[in-house]
């Protein structure tokens, strides 16, 4: 890789200037290595070590305390026969799919509108992005209030005379995930809009000129030329959204608490209640390992495309 070569050449140059005094490679510039100790410790102990630890203990029958009593796949068997977990997975799949499409479409559309050389661009951008500065707790609580059946959207429409109107996502198990989605999209689209806008700004002005000379309509230029050119930006945005979706937790806790019943449970919440609520550590470890697996499934194709492609090209 290019990085390794780079490191080698700086090493050579350093050797030429000060290498005569310190012959050993490992001891050269000891301060720079000492300074990296915290980072290396975090990477190896917490990130790598912690992950391996959790995976190993997911094969045990740990209850209140972690114990190394081998139990094979028992925890996973139990996990996949628990209705709450199945509901969590289904919810996350629905939310994830809808949120990915929604965020990309809305994010790109807003970015494209802002890129049309409009006035007050900064004001509009600030408005679209400010929800991203707020926490999921704040987001969840505000939307809980707006979607309140009595005083919120449903109540208002009924007040206009449409008595049978019904829109109560937070108390209706069938549509509760859409209630969460409304809040999630409100909070998250600004980020994607920003990424998309940065991508659009990176596109050569000549492309627009060329398409204008050829008389191609603006919308067609976006679909046929600009979006294909922005493939890497879309991929980055997608990976970012996807890894955020798997972590979905705070929003659910604040907005619905997993209810009504268990209809808006999500995997992260399942893990938390298994570990800290019902003192069932093994279940928590198994469930979190499954979460990790889903991230790996998302990330490997991306890493292959991003880094594998570069090596060949």
């Amino acid at each position: 890789m290019a990085v390794a070569e780079d490191a080698g050449s700086t090493g050579h140059r350093a050797a030429a200037s000060s290498g005569a005094k310190r012959p050993s490679r490992l001891l050269r510039n000891p301060m720079s290595k000492i300074a990296l100790v915290p980072m290396i410790a975090i990477a190896l102990v917490v990130f790598l070590g912690g992950t391996v630890w959790t995976i190993v203990y997911s094969f045990t029958d740990s209850g209140l305390l972690p114990r190394l009593d081998w139990a094979g796949l028992e925890q996973y068997d139990r996990l996949w026969s628990t209705r709450k977990w199945i509901v969590s997975i289904q919810n996350l799949a629905l939310y994830g799919f809808a949120s990915m499409i929604g965020t990309l479409v809305i994010g790109f559309t807003l970015a494209a509108l802002l890129d049309r050389k409009i006035r007050f661009e900064g004001v509009f951008r600030s408005i679209f992005l400010y929800p991203f500065a707020l926490s999921f707790i704040v987001t969840g609580l505000v939307w809980q209030w707006i979607l309140n059946p009595q005083f919120g959207v449903q109540g208002i429409v009924r007040g206009w005379g449409w008595e049978s109107f019904s829109f109560d996502p937070l108390n209706n198990p069938n549509i509760v995930m859409w209630g969460l989605l409304i809040a999630g999209l409100w909070q998250g689209t600004g980020l994607v809009m920003c990424i998309m806008l940065a991508g659009l700004r990176g596109i050569d002005e000549d492309i627009w000129k060329a398409s204008r000379v050829d008389g191609i309509p603006v919308w067609k230029t976006y679909i046929r030329v600009i979006i294909p050119m922005m493939r890497p930006v879309f991929v980055t945005a997608l990976v970012l959204i996807a890894s955020g979706i798997v972590k979905l937790y705070d929003l659910v806790v604040a907005q619905t608490g997993g209810g009504p019943g268990i209809s808006s449970e999500v995997p992260a919440k399942y893990v938390m209640s298994a570990m800290f609520g019902s003192q069932n550590l093994g279940q928590g470890f198994a469930a979190s390992s499954m979460m990790l697996l889903s991230v790996v499934i998302i990330l490997i194709p991306w890493a292959y495309l991003e880094f594998g492609g570069k090596k060949r090209g």
Partner: protein
């Protein structure tokens, strides 16, 4: 990036050419953009969407200024007929969480106590690491960095329990310093990436010249690199202040109830099942909690955007 002057010029040229092509909108010479159908559509859509994005903020504000009788009579969007600040006072000092009834103020001060050391420590560790990674590469340094970056994608739930054990062994579980450590650890991937990329973009000649003059690791960092990198330190600070203030998960796991940060306290107040729901107090509390990151956001403006863009696009 294209410089703004050229962008503006091409924009004007474009409008001119459009004007000539569509004669039905040709209203004679005008110095600036005409009110074309395209513009009405464009701004119309933008304004409608803006209103939608602003709606929750508006709802928070108006609800927090109403009295409970007025809330029961009207709806969430109605402006307050009689403005009262009582809900704010109550949210700050009297609202009950189920454990105690001293309002959000406790959570606020806890959050401040968590925030300041966490931000300082995470930035200190990450900036030095990023500097070492970009300028003092050695065999294997990139491997450690890759592992660290992967940490950004691993769901926190996978690492939560091992961290509980680590903190317990260090005697820090349930203490504020333990939480500070946790924030430092989990802030590392994005911050190190941010600093590494920034330092790598600085001219190498600077580094080489300092080396030839005999400057060491820390000297180069403090005398040359850090003073040149003020913007990226500010960006890192914005990222961390909003991120740590908004954290819920770590706060709820790694601290005791009397040390809960503001977000956890807020959730406990609003979602508490005891007593009558006081929506105005709840919204005042919500707004109070959102005030810190909102202030940071509106004051920092472009730097906030730069922070998330740097973290996102270059990753």
């Amino acid at each position: 990036m294209a410089n703004p002057a050229t962008l503006g010029a091409t924009g004007a040229a474009m409008d001119a050419s459009r004007g000539q092509m569509s004669s039905d909108h040709h209203r004679g010479p005008r110095p600036k953009k005409a009110l074309s159908r395209r513009n009405i559509m464009l701004y119309g859509v933008l304004i409608v969407v803006s209103l939608y994005y602003l709606l929750p903020l508006y709802v928070m504000i108006v609800t927090s200024l109403k009295g409970m009788p007025e809330i029961r009579m009207g709806n969430v969007f109605g402006p307050p007929l009689e403005v009262t600040f009582e809900p704010w006072a109550k949210a700050w000092s009297q609202a009950c969480t189920g454990i105690n009834c001293d309002g959000l103020s406790r959570g606020f001060f806890n959050s401040v106590q968590i925030l300041i050391p966490s931000v300082l420590m995470s930035i200190a560790v990450a900036s030095v690491s990023g500097y070492a990674l970009s300028m003092w590469k050695f065999r294997g340094s990139e491997v450690f960095f890759t592992i660290l970056l992967m940490g950004a994608f691993i769901p926190y739930q996978v690492m939560i329990y091992p961290v509980v054990l680590l903190l317990r062994n260090m005697g820090l579980f349930g203490s504020l310093s333990g939480l500070v450590l946790v924030h430092t650890v989990f802030g590392m991937p994005i911050l190190v990436l941010l600093f590494r990329n920034y330092f790598a973009s600085l001219p190498v000649e600077l580094f080489k010249a300092a080396r030839v003059d005999g400057a060491g690791f820390w000297q180069i960092f403090f005398r040359i690199m850090a003073p040149m990198s003020l913007p990226i330190f500010v960006v890192a600070m914005i990222l961390q202040v909003t991120g740590i203030w908004n954290d819920f998960l770590f706060g709820v796991i790694y601290t005791r109830p009397d040390q809960y940060p503001m977000t956890v306290q807020l959730n406990n107040i609003v979602n508490s099942v005891q007593g009558v729901k006081e929506y105005n107090v709840n919204m005042a509390a919500t707004l109070l909690t959102g005030l810190v990151p909102l202030t940071v956001y509106f004051v920092s403006g472009k730097l906030f955007v730069r922070g998330i863009a740097a973290g996102a696009v270059k990753g």
